[in-house]
């Protein structure tokens, strides 16, 4: 397996076995790869969806622009993440995707996606991938609608840790999360001041340290309980071991 599709394959294998045919098909379609500097757009709200993206490395985010210039982040795309494959069915994008850190992303045309969907080992994984994007969005709705600022932040950190762990980007209890406090604020529908307070509270409680983009989780079971975090909505049902 080449380096470009290894994380995408790892991620999809959490849903179902891809087989060598599925992995080969992913490699065959990873022909166009682009690099984006931090803050560059992958696709813009209002533009037609001409291709979808699979993130090879870096963090990207989905966001909607608000009439007063603010934005609401509605999702993150981490290494191994692939856009909903049904995106092409709508005439234009209702949100933007932009690079947060430096990003490398595979570009997939509608034809490439159709070819992938016809590969037996991939079809089911791609459907699940699209459904999980929605499942995460539902969880985020609860996050910004129901949870306290401390819970929102804890929940987000748990989710990012789980998703990075699924593609081999954690070391023991640590991982890199290249988000600024402003970006976290736009994600959790909080002010930057609230985010700062919640971060200090998390540090004081001894659950996590989050400094210079390095997240270290000191007590994961307690953090999960504090956040009300149950990873079931990520549907990483197959274990990393089973995913050879």
């Amino acid at each position: 397996m080449n380096g470009l599709t290894s994380r995408l394959a790892l991620r999809l294998e959490r849903y179902s076995a891809l087989g060598s045919e599925g992995k080969q098909a992913l490699e065959n379609e990873a022909l166009e790869v682009r690099r984006y500097a931090s803050r560059d757009s992958l696709v813009r709200q209002g533009a037609p969806a001409e291709r979808i993206f699979a993130i090879v490395e870096g963090f990207a985010c989905r966001y909607k622009l608000l009439p007063d210039g603010r934005r609401q982040n509605i999702g993150f795309m981490l290494p191994g993440d692939l856009c909903d494959t049904r995106t092409f069915a709508l005439p234009f994008m209702d949100h933007s995707i932009a690079a947060i850190s430096n990003v490398q992303a595979i570009q997939l045309s509608v034809d490439a996606v159709r070819r992938l969907e016809s590969v037996p080992g991939l079809a089911q994984a791609l459907v699940r991938n699209s459904l999980v994007e929605q499942s995460i969005a539902r969880e985020w709705m609860i996050n910004v609608g129901y949870r306290t600022s401390f819970e929102r932040l804890s929940h987000l950190l748990c989710e990012l840790f789980e998703r990075l762990q699924a593609v081999g980007l954690t070391r023991a209890n640590a991982c890199e999360i290249p988000l600024t406090q402003t970006e976290i604020a736009d994600t959790l529908a909080l002010s930057a001041v609230h985010v700062n307070t919640a971060l200090m509270e998390l540090r004081r409680s001894g659950l996590v340290t989050f400094q210079s983009k390095q997240l270290v989780i000191h007590d994961y079971p307690t953090l999960k309980r504090a956040a009300g975090f149950d990873p079931a909505y990520l549907y990483f049902t197959r274990t990393a071991e089973a995913a050879d």
Partner: protein, 207 residues
């Protein structure tokens, strides 16, 4: 476009913000027939100013994404996605220049909504841009074009703040070459903005 804002720079930014506000309050008087009309126009202009500041404050020193400036103005006026187009390469406008450009888009949009193409059911406004290199210098060619206004007469006959912005403020603030014309379709504005004119005006963000 620097990464850090020192207190002195911050003070300078605040001063220029107040100066812009004064200008807005003064210029909005022109041609108004009621206090309500005056207040509505002033609020719209201050809203545009607040929006560009929101965008600039998110990543100080990065400049404003041109697409976000244009698209933001259209959605702030609740114009349907099918009635406008914003399209062009990834360009960042320097903070100093972003304010004048945003106010110009605001005036054009409001004008199109009241007199131009966006006042009709089927009219459209298109903002498109590209980058051109002319004898070693990079220029941003930015067009505002309306379609389907069906104008009986020149809607800019009363030379207002919009004209002032495009014909005087943009050449001054952005060193832009501007042409403004009216057709039956609506207003057509062409801007040519140099990348550097003493200071950086804009930069191409693509890698």
């Amino acid at each position: 476009m620097t990464a850090q804002t020192t207190p002195r720079e911050y003070q300078h930014q605040l001063r220029s913000l107040f100066a812009v506000l004064r200008t807005l309050v003064r210029h909005t008087k022109e041609g108004r027939t009621s206090v309500e009309e005056y207040a509505a126009h002033l609020e719209g202009r201050i809203g545009a100013l607040a929006r560009v500041h929101e965008i600039l404050m998110r990543a100080p020193g990065e400049g404003a994404d041109l697409y976000e400036l244009v698209y933001g103005e259209f959605i702030s006026q609740v114009i349907p996605e099918t009635s406008f187009l914003a399209s062009g390469p990834e360009v960042r406008i320097a903070p100093r220049s972003a304010t004048a450009l945003t106010l110009a888009f605001h005036e054009l949009t409001v004008n199109a909504l009241t007199h131009g193409a966006l006042s009709t059911a089927t009219g459209r406004a298109e903002v498109t841009w590209n980058i051109e290199t002319l004898s070693g210098e990079s220029w941003l060619n930015l067009d505002w074009k309306e379609f389907g206004a069906g104008l009986p007469q020149d809607p800019l006959a009363t030379k207002g703040f919009g004209n002032e912005l495009i014909e005087r403020m943009l050449p001054y603030e952005l060193s832009a070459r501007t042409t403004l014309s009216t057709t039956r379709e609506g207003i057509y504005v062409q801007l040519q903005i140099p990348a550097i004119a003493g200071n950086i005006i804009w930069r191409h963000a693509a890698v």
